[in-house]
């Protein structure tokens, strides 16, 4: 009985093996053209769905990064174009060339990986697509405007960014139309531009940009003071203006240009002098 069962099992095994061997030999002995055709047809059924899915996934992942690079390039070009126009305007009102026209530097695209808000600060954790030689106070912008500045560096790829909605935030700003200077501070859900004289020309709808003046900080280890936030990043738009009779400054309410609640890609602005180093650390694009 044992022998019969053993033989039956063995016969089944051998038949399976024989079938597989015959199939293999048939495939091997096909003419080369037919073999390639058969392989191609089989691949369409057996492996093509996997490769299609995998390539699609790769493309989707790469699209995110490519999109971030393209956005940074577009933002750079827009900022340079705005700086050119501003230089022209400064020249027309004889303010240049003592006043810098605006953005000069390098935008590093970063993805927002975390958001944290508390009563003292609202922070974003950002991850750069490449290693960055960054430092605290570097400005961070989105495509629509100024967002905040680098607060805490975690490593060469990650850092925490303090948003300008944080209660203690203050930023030197300028009215783009008139070149009037002021200081922008958060006020609840809106922003106020302070230190603008009551008789100055400010209208609702005026674009507010960074002035680059009120933020000159000492470099590390006693290095010379330098400007970290360049002039010209859009900060917001004047929403309402009033001149109370008992005050010497205007009360200007502004709406931010950038969204602080939904950001996928943001850009850290590296100073121009660091661009070559940034290129080295980043390995270029």
């Amino acid at each position: 009985m044992f022998g019969r069962g053993f033989n039956l099992a063995l016969r089944g095994d051998v038949i399976t093996l024989a079938v597989c061997v015959i199939l293999s030999v048939v495939l091997m002995s096909l003419p080369e053209g037919t073999r390639i055709l058969v392989a191609d047809r089989l691949a369409m059924v057996l492996t093509s769905p996997y490769w299609k899915t995998r390539n699609f996934g790769d493309d989707v992942l790469k699209t995110g990064q490519e999109n971030a690079w393209l956005k940074s390039r577009v933002a750079e070009l827009e900022l340079l174009a705005a700086a050119g126009e501003r230089m022209q305007r400064d020249s027309d009102r004889l303010a240049g060339p003592a006043v810098t026209p605006g953005f000069e530097g390098d935008l590093v695209p970063c993805e927002v990986v975390m958001r944290q808000g508390n009563r003292f600060a609202t922070m974003l954790k950002v991850r750069s697509l490449m290693p960055v030689d960054w430092e605290p106070w570097l400005p961070v912008i989105s495509q629509s405007g100024y967002l905040g500045r680098v607060k805490t560096i975690i490593n060469e790829r990650e850092a925490w960014v303090e948003l300008m909605v944080s209660p203690d935030f203050a930023l030197g700003v300028e009215m783009d139309r008139t070149a009037l200077l002021g200081v922008l501070r958060p006020r609840g859900n809106t922003f106020a531009v302070e230190m603008v004289g009551r008789d100055e020309d400010v209208r609702p709808g005026d674009l507010i940009i960074t002035s680059g003046i009120a933020e000159v900080r000492d470099g590390e280890d006693g290095a010379e003071a330098r400007q970290l936030t360049p002039r010209g990043f859009p900060v917001g738009v004047v929403k309402s203006v009033s001149s109370p009779t008992d005050k010497i400054f205007k009360e200007i309410v502004a709406e931010p240009a950038a969204s602080f609640t939904h950001n996928v890609t943001v850009f850290v602005v590296l100073p121009w002098r660091d661009s070559s180093q940034a290129g080295e650390t980043a390995g270029g694009r």
């Binding site: 597989c20 091997m28 080369e32 691949a43």
Partner: protein
């Protein structure tokens, strides 16, 4: 039925993830374990020679699709390995790492021996050099990596030495 499904799933996962994900990660100068053979041994030991033969043929055929000039060759080698290991499973000493590692290494070597023998005739490739410089290191590496995988499969209750 459930055991068969689990065995098939482990076989597919080991072969697929091993070859596409793990092997590139633990690759040492181009030498990586042959996870398809390891998976085939797992299948043959747990499900027997019929499953081993069919599984080996299927995996070999899928691998052959990337090299149409050799269509059918890996399928032939692997169905032979699957049949051999499946037939020998009742005579092997289970639970001894040296035995298992040797079995895996020999299976890889046998597979490569047949493969290179046919390949050298079919497309005039050399035989001895690839066998010594590629197959032997891969066989040793596969033996080392395969033993923990077999232990894992045994822990999952898929290897039944009593059978």
């Amino acid at each position: 039925m459930r055991g068969f499904l689990r065995t098939t799933l482990i076989f597919l996962l080991t072969a697929f993830l091993g070859e596409t994900v793990v092997a590139p990660l633990i690759d040492i100068k181009g030498i990586a374990p042959d996870f398809s053979v390891i998976a085939l041994i797992i299948l043959s030991l747990s499900a027997g020679p019929v499953s081993g033969t069919i599984g080996g043929f299927a995996v070999g055929l899928i691998q052959d699709l990337t090299q149409p000039a050799l269509l059918g060759l890996r399928a032939l080698c692997k169905c032979g390995v699957g049949f051999g290991v499946g037939t020998l499973r009742g005579r092997l000493v289970h639970g001894v790492p040296v035995v298992e590692a040797t079995m895996i290494a020999l299976a890889v070597l046998a597979h490569d021996l047949v493969f290179l023998l046919f390949q050298s005739r079919l497309i005039d490739e050399s035989f001895l050099m690839p066998l010594l410089t590629r197959s032997v290191p891969v066989a040793i590496y596969s033996g080392l990596v395969g033993v923990p995988l077999l232990r894992l499969v045994e822990l999952l209750g898929l290897l039944n030495p009593e059978e």
